[in-house]
Amino acid sequence: MAHGAGGKASRRLIEGLLVPILSAGTPGPLGDAAHLQLNGTRLAITTDSFVVKPLRFPGGSIGELAINGTVNDLAVSGARAEALVATYVLEAGLSTAVLETEARAMAAAAQRAGVAIVGGDTKVVEHGKADQMYISTSGIGRPIAGVTVDPSSVRPGDKVLISGPIGDHGVTILLARGELELDAEVCSDTRSVLPLVEVLARAAGPGIRWMRDPTRGGVATALNELARDCGLAVYLREEDIPIRDAVRGACELLGLDPLHIANEGQFLAVIAPELADTGLEALRQTPGGQGARLLGEIRAEPAATLIAATGFGGSRVVDMLVGDPLPRIC
């Protein structure tokens, strides 16, 4: 199970086993989407699958995650999603009402995201084999002009930006499972980040070095991957990390680190220092982007490490997630 949590075990499974075999010896860098040239046309393509329990939760459902997740992967790779295909793996016995609700949710989310669903596939498996439903979406899109995402272009002095408050989605799911007798006013942040990415591209495009959507494994995992890929240090200032009070409270109570919690409607960006403030301001002036913050910066040392400064002179290393975030007890 740890291999699905998005942290170290996932990375080992993907990079250690799958990539070498599947890429037939010519692997490129692992980004959120693959950018290709086909007969002179540049395209981006990505795929993602969605497994969530419960299917519906405050702020969204699996259908919306399935659309937004793939649109976002393309967006943070520097591409505008044009078309998606969707696969449903359905558990025998699933009510058609549930399926219809999700299909409608997907159609609505696709429309909001400005993307067409152009095909798909459906399979039914035995009862007990699919947790009601699994959805997978693959998306294709065109590169956004003027944006190149490349961790090797990151330099000491670059700034790290987040588009809004963290932790909403993961905490919502944890509470929606109903295992904890904890109530909080939280809801998932699932949305397409493409509009905000396009705003950032217009305002600060030449300065964008890297972007990622911090889904499973949270901001900590995404920034650890960045640190590893560029070989530099990523410094965060804890007091600058935006987080809603209710999310923070739930995390404190459960002993969870918000940096390890999944987000479904935010993105991280590394921007050259001379354009960082311009990019930030443009986001904050955009509806949906007012929560954007500059979180930190890139430094030379210590190599390949993510560090958080506490605000009163202390600091700690922030590691990638190992396994699932387990609430602390005592």
Partner: protein, 373 residues
């Protein structure tokens, strides 16, 4: 956030840190032990060592109830879980702790019914909802968690829920502190006293440490300011040649402890004559088992378990790290054969374990070389 933000106020923390630096005698090297694993984590989590002067050394104590459990006890619990009718329940902390044939999570992946619960009451509810199964709760913790286990057992008895049992691995804190002080290779100047254990047992049980051993002890909270204030209070005592018990965590810890909790514990539990602690051998009167009157809910009596003593791998130095003799990074296996993903001992996976704290928060800061995970 109330009760959190005030204790993380950067200005007050900076002032307190300055006060500590002023008060610390530059010709003296202070060794302060924080007993409780939660304090160890807080120290690393908030980077407190960065704000303390270099002549104040924080030594990590054995206050991690998961870490001090010998592997054999984990095996015993998992043997019970192998019964198809049994649902094995435990806190999240326990899930990655290695037994000889794997951790509870690994057993779960192999098909054993292992579930995380957030309180023993949840385990009892599970038993009521599954009358054809047997729910076993693997109880761990110092006196902090023992009262809730006790109250759950009282409820089980009162409601006549028979498909429920507790495998008690509760341990008590005072014998652990005594073992530290009796250890010939220890030299501790003062103690940062456990916070949450003290909400149950109060501050009186520590009086012998000050009176008989002449060591100051300050019961501390877990926020950065709590710990810094406690260190300040210890420095004041040491500077004046005093040794007494003080309570810094007054907003939570009552001096007399929690009588209702202690009564519940006394009704359900009794002290075992002796119990094995990882790295510290057998310590008498240091752990709790269910009384005869609760025999029916005692997993040890309902299930036959191997009870095999499993020694740690030779190269593992869990015991020395637990006693504070070695820092985590000084263990030969740290960061190489033993990492949070492939732990040799519980100290590397428990949320209270000092190896885990060091690995997760500290060791790469200075680029100290450890092998790739």
């Amino acid at each position: 956030m109330q009760f959190v933000d005030e204790y993380r106020d950067a200005k007050v923390i900076t002032r307190t840190a300055e006060e500590i630096r002023r008060l610390a005698d530059p010709h003296r090297h202070y060794r302060l032990m924080e007993v409780c694993g939660g304090h160890t984590h807080a120290i690393y989590r908030f980077g407190l060592k960065d704000v303390l002067p270099p002549n104040i050394e924080l030594v990590h104590g054995p206050g991690c109830p998961v870490c001090v459990l010998p592997m054999g006890r984990i095996d015993d619990g998992l043997t019970m879980a192998e019964n198809p009718e049994v649902i094995f329940t435990a806190f999240g902390d326990m899930m990655r702790v290695p037994g000889t044939k794997g951790s509870p999570l690994e057993y779960k992946a192999r098909g054993t019914d292992v579930r995380i619960v957030y309180s023993p009451a949840d385990a009892l509810k599970l038993a009521q909802k599954n009358p054809d199964r047997h729910v076993m709760f693997f109880a761990i913790g110092f006196e902090t968690t023992a009262p809730s286990t006790a109250l759950t057992l009282k409820a089980a008895k009162a409601m006549g829920v028979r498909n429920f049992s507790v495998f008690s691995n509760h341990v008590t804190i005072i014998p652990a502190i005594r073992a530290i002080l009796d250890s010939p290779d220890m030299r501790i100047d003062a103690f940062i006293g456990p916070g949450h254990v003290s909400t149950v047992i109060g501050c009186r049980p520590y009086e012998w440490i000050a009176r008989n051993e002449g060591k100051p002890i300050v019961v501390s909270g877990f926020e950065p300011l709590d710990l810094l204030q406690s260190i300040l209070m210890l420095l004041r005592q040491l500077g004046q040649g005093e040794a007494k018990v003080e309570n810094q965590y007054q907003r939570v810890v009552p001096w007399e402890g929690n009588r209702a909790a202690l009564r519940a514990m006394a009704e359900v539990f009794e002290l075992r004559p002796y119990f094995e602690w990882r790295g510290m051998g057998f310590i008498s009167q240091s752990a709790l088992r269910l009384r005869e009157s609760y025999a029916e809910w005692d997993a040890e009596r309902r299930f036959s378990i191997p009870g095999v003593r499993v020694t740690d791998p030779k190269a593992a130095q869990c015991g020395e790290v637990l006693k504070g003799v070695l820092k985590p990074v000084q263990c030969k296996l740290f960061g190489k054969e033993c990492t949070p993903e492939r732990p040799v001992g519980a100290l590397m996976v428990s949320s209270e374990g000092s190896c885990a704290a060091y690995y997760n928060y500290e060791h790469r800061k200075s680029g100290v070389g450890v092998g790739a995970a």
